[in-house]
Amino acid sequence: MSIDSPSGASLNEGASLSARFKMLLRLHKIEAKRGLNDLLDNPFSNFMTVLVIAIALALPAGLQILLDNGKTLSQSWDGASRISLYLDITSSQSQTEQLAESLRKNPAVDRVNVIHPDQALKDFSARSGFADALAELDSNPLPPTLVIQPKATHTSPEISEQLLVEFKVLPGVEKAQLDLDWVRKLHALLELAEKAASALGLALGLAVLLIVGNTIRLSVQNRREEIEVVKLVGATDAFIRRPFLYTGFWYGLFAGVLCWLILEISLIWLDDPVTKLAGLYQSEFSINGLSLPQSLQLIGVSCGLGLLGSWLSVGRHIRNIEPR
C-alpha cells in the first residue's frame, strides 16, 4: 500500500487553493444534503415547524395581497365620482322621469340612470340573498334613485362637491350622496391597514427568526457530541456552522413554498364570493393573486429569514460547546 500523490508532501498546509475551492463546493453539496436529511429524519416535528413559519408568513403576506387588491379597486373608482340622488319615496314615476330629464340638460352631467323602486327591489333580492325576507315586506321600502355620472371635466372632488350641493336642494330629492366619499374613506382605511400590515409583517418576521433560531438551538444541542468531535479534529466554527445554516435555509424554503400554497388556496376560495360581491357593485373586479415575481419574492424572503434565524442562533451556541 503506498501513496504516490504529488501533493502528499504538503503535509500540514492542507490542499491547494483551487482544490480547497472545489472541496468547498463539494462540502456545500454534502452539507446541504445532510441538512435536508436532518429535516426528513424527523418529518413530523419538522413539518410542524415549517407549518408554523408558513402561517406566520402567510398572515402579513395575505394581508398585503388584500391591500394591493383594495388599492387597484379604489384606483379604478377614482374617476367615477358618481352622484346618487335618492328621491322622496312618494315620488311618482313621471316626477322621477321629469327630474331625470331636467338633469340631463345640465351641462355638467354626462348621463343619468333612473333606477325605479321595482327594479331596485328585484336586483336587490336577486343579489343580496335576502329574497325571502324581502318577499315578506308589504310595500317596497326602496326609493326611486337617479345615478348621475358627471362629465369627465367635472369629476374632481371639489367640483363633485359643488354638484352635490346643487343637486341636494332640487325638489323631490331626499338625499344626495357622492360615491367618491367612500372611495376617500377606503383610501384612508387602506393606508391605515397598510401600516398595520407592515407592523404585523415585522412582528411575525421576528417571530419566524425566533422560531428558526430556537429550532436550530435544539438541533445544535442534540449534536453536541458531534460538534465536540469535529472541533477536536480541527474544525473551524465556519465549518461547524454550515450544516445548521443549510437546515435553516431548508426550513425557510419549505415554509415559503407552503406559505405560497396556503395563500393560493385561500385566494381561490375567496375568488367566488369576491366576484359576486363585485357584481353587486356592477364591477368586473376579481381578486389578483401573487404574480411570479411576488411569489419568488415571498419564497426568497422566507429563505432569507430561515438563514438569518439560523445564523443568529448557531454562532452563539456553537461557541459555547467546547470539547472536554
Binding site: 503506498s2 503535509l11 480541527g234
Partner: protein
Amino acid sequence: MIQFAQVSKRYPNGQDALRNVDLEIKSGEMAFLTGHSGAGKSTMLKLISLMERATSGQVIINGKNLNKVKRRKIPAVRRDIGMIFQDHRLLFDRSVFDNVALPLMIAGYDHREIGRRVRAALDKVGLLSKEKNTPIMLSGGEQQRVGIARAVVNKPPLLLADEPTGNLDPELSAEIMKLFEQFNQVGVSLLIASHDLSLLAQMHYRTLVMKEGRLVQDQIDDSPGINHGEEFHERDSDMGFFTKDGLDDLPDENLVGDSSGHHDEY
C-alpha cells in the same frame, strides 16, 4: 515537539491539576505518561490540544507558543495534532470512511485525495474492508483502530493518545501499541497517557510518571526500543503509509531526538 516550562494549571474549582511542570519531548520521540487518575495526565494532554489553557507557564508545541494562540487559531493548531481517545469519539451516524475522512474534509482536501488517504490509513490499521460499515457494527478494538486512522490520516507530526487501550484486552492493546511504534518509526512524535503498567513494562520507551500534578519521574528506558536502529530497519518495509511522503529519507538521529526543525520538512 512538546515543551512545558513551569506550567501550572488550576481549574476554576480550585483544583491544582498541574504544578510547575517542566518537560521536553523531542521531535520523533515516543513517550508514555502515567500516574494515578487525577495525577494530571489528562490535563497535560488537554493543554497540548488547547482544550484547556495553562494558568501559568509556557506550553510550546511544534515551535508554537500556545499562550499566544487566539481562539480563532485553535483549529489550525489541532490539525497538527492527531488525537486518540479511550472512548474513540467516533460519529456513529456516519460510515467508517466518513469518520476517517473528517479531518481531511475539514482541511479542504480534494475528494480523490481524501479517498486515497483514507484508504491508506484504513489499510494501515487493517480495516480497509470495513470502510462502508458504521462504527456501531465494529468491535471495541476495531473502533479504536478507526479512531487511530482518523488521527493519522492528516499525517500530523504529533499524536496524543489518552488511555488508548483502556477498554481493550491485553492482546488488542499490544496490537494498538504496535501500530503506535510503527508510526513512531517514521518520525511521528507520540505522547501516550496510560495507567496500564503491565503494558508499559513490555514497552521500552521513555516514561513520565505524574503524581498530584507534578512530574515525579522521567525515565528513559535503554532496553530495546526506539533507539535501536535494527528494529526499525526491519519494519521499514511495511511503512508505506507514511514513508512515501519523504519521512523515510530522514536521517535516523532525527528520530531519536534532535528537534532542530525536521518537522519543517513535512
